[in-house]
Symmetry: C2
Subunit: 358 residues, 2 copies
């Protein structure tokens, strides 16, 4: 199996740790001493040799990627000239892979997700690969544990590969559903045959390219030009010229929702996309006062349910359910329940021209 790690995002809501110059995947968010992309590589390393692991990222992060992942060949760092969402990023990776191995099966995963049960994740990828070998475009369907309205959902249909010992079945996909309202999400949860769409896909490269050619013909034409130039002296020039005309589209809209033979493999691996600071208490252990210390030395006086990320000793007095994040140049304090508003802080800094803090 080949693995492509998508690492082009920025992660604004994890400010002040996540910055344009060093997005969250290149930072140690969970305090385990590894950056998120390093943990991602370690997580899939048992499945495949390092020279079959690729990273798609922006030019500005090429050096960081190479520094943080010395075990990955530099040629496996695929540069997208600008962010065009997951559709073109996956298409570009497929062109590179197809040139190396037209029969490749590939998993597209993210550089900034956490899995608390990594073996379940690897098993799901392997199950997905089995279905992908038969021609399916496979998506991992994340077992929902709440009626979350921030994710798209996937409805499963009939079984393709029956359950094996300790493993879940692979299902045909009934349909992809946009982010629902709360009532709809609640009904999804109670019906039990819906999964969150975590944007993790497994497929044969030739199948993905065939779907792109069929469903996104213009974009595919650009990808073909790029693919034809790979290895040639003008490769970068062609890439820049073609990429500039590439549509900005997610792989869901570009391919998955309209594809033939789409399957879903359930994933129950403690997945979390750590979209905001309050997610840390889900993926990290808490102490006896429900305080979750990702980094730092906490002295809690009458303080429960807080999330702390700091290089320092942090003393809390009578504070509950807060997030306290401290970095070299900034400090964030707010209730866990309001961590979506971090983007307002980032907007305010932008308005102040404080690009040093973005």
């Amino acid at each position: 199996m080949h693995i492509v790690i998508l690492a082009g995002g920025v992660g604004t809501r994890l400010w002040p740790r996540s910055r344009h110059a060093r997005p969250k995947q290149f930072s140690d968010i969970t305090g385990d001493g590894r950056t998120m992309i390093q943990a991602t590589v370690d997580r899939v390393a048992p499945l495949t040799p390092y020279d079959q692991i690729y990273v798609v990222t922006g030019q500005q992060y090429a050096e960081l990627t190479a520094e943080q992942l010395p075990q990955i060949p530099k040629n496996n760092i695929i540069i997208e000239p600008s962010g065009r969402n997951t559709g073109p990023a996956i298409g570009l990776a497929c062109m590179h892979l197809y040139k190396r191995d037209p029969n490749a099966t590939v998993a597209f995963i993210h550089s900034d997700h956490v899995m608390t049960r990594e073996d379940c994740f690897r098993t799901a990828l392997q199950r997905g690969a089995a279905a992908a070998a038969e021609g399916y475009l496979v998506t991992l369907g994340i077992q929902p544990d709440s009626p979350h309205t921030g994710y798209g959902y996937i409805k499963r249909d009939s079984v393709i590969l029956p359950a094996e010992q300790g493993e879940q079945p692979v299902y045909r996909v009934g349909r992809f559903l946009e982010k629902p309202d709360l009532a709809t999400a609640q009904s999804f949860l109670s019906e039990g045959c819906y999964y969150w769409n975590g944007g993790i896909f497994i497929c044969r490269v030739d199948r993905m390219l065939a779907e792109l050619a069929r469903q996104l013909p213009e974009g595919y034409a650009h990808l073909q030009e790029i693919g034809a130039s790979l290895g040639a002296p003008n490769a970068e020039e062609v890439l820049l010229a073609q990429w500039a005309q590439m549509p900005n589209i997610s792989i869901d809209h570009a391919v998955m929702e309209g594809a033939e033979c789409v399957a879903v493999t359930p994933l129950d691996a403690g997945w979390n996309d750590v979209g905001s600071w309050d997610a840390l208490e889900v993926v990290l252990p808490c102490d006896e006062n429900d305080n979750c210390v990702a980094k730092g030395n906490l002295i809690a006086e009458d303080s429960c349910g807080n999330i702390v990320y700091s290089d320092k000793t942090v003393a809390l007095i009578g504070m509950n359910d807060l997030v306290v994040v401290e970095t070299e140049d900034a400090l964030l304090v707010g209730p866990k329940s309001q961590m979506q508003k971090v983007k307002n802080i980032v907007e305010a800094l932008k308005a102040q021209g404080r690009h040093d803090l973005l």
Copy 2:
């Protein structure tokens, strides 16, 4: 007028800025670019030449004092071998002063107080000096603006020096009162003839020494030995030997409460002893959301009434009435109303053996 600045305290409740190695008087607490002791010297500099300004402090702070106050002659830094409260500290200073000028009038002030109206403070010292010249031991009586239960009170009696243009009278002291309960403090406030005892005194040196001789004869005997040795080769040896036997006693208990001819000069100068972080909003201006930023760059999202002290950009989301203090190695967050509990944090650190943070 001679001025003696008492600078031996530690200021635990201003942790994490105030440390054993650098107590609050040697730190810039108000964010004006000067340490508290530097601001204290600047405040009295219009009254007297620098060579008549003295500092009493511990050996461990002698170097800090000399560094921060290069305008003060090094000989004016008077070392107390250990903290014995204000009685012995003032007695020691009197011995030094008496040797230089037996007729000296001296004001004893503190290194870690703030006055928002500095001219009123200087005027009060001058009024006090006028009464002191006539033999009174004068205390500044701080005009109370709340029924504070953390200070001793002074009840005024008859007028000694009548009010002059723009100045308040000087009164004989009726009595000194210990820290009252709330009901008593409220009655003091409504009666209007009570002041807070801020521990600021003005007197002739000979009068203070006479009172020490009369009221604290054993302590005075030690001071006499020390005074006799000043300038001699064995001065330090004598100081250490005598100081070890010195009682630990405040000047109020040792002298003021039992003294003859005690006067009080009202002080309405926006005095604050900055005993804890919540005092900052009293002595510093607040912004339109009642946030008080002593140091740092605050981005406040739905956040009012907070006090911020940090070298960084501080983003608050939905936080009200908090204190947020950040130093090189520690971070403190808690409600303004619970800042007395900072001492519990210091105790917890002590129990953990974290002397690097004390």
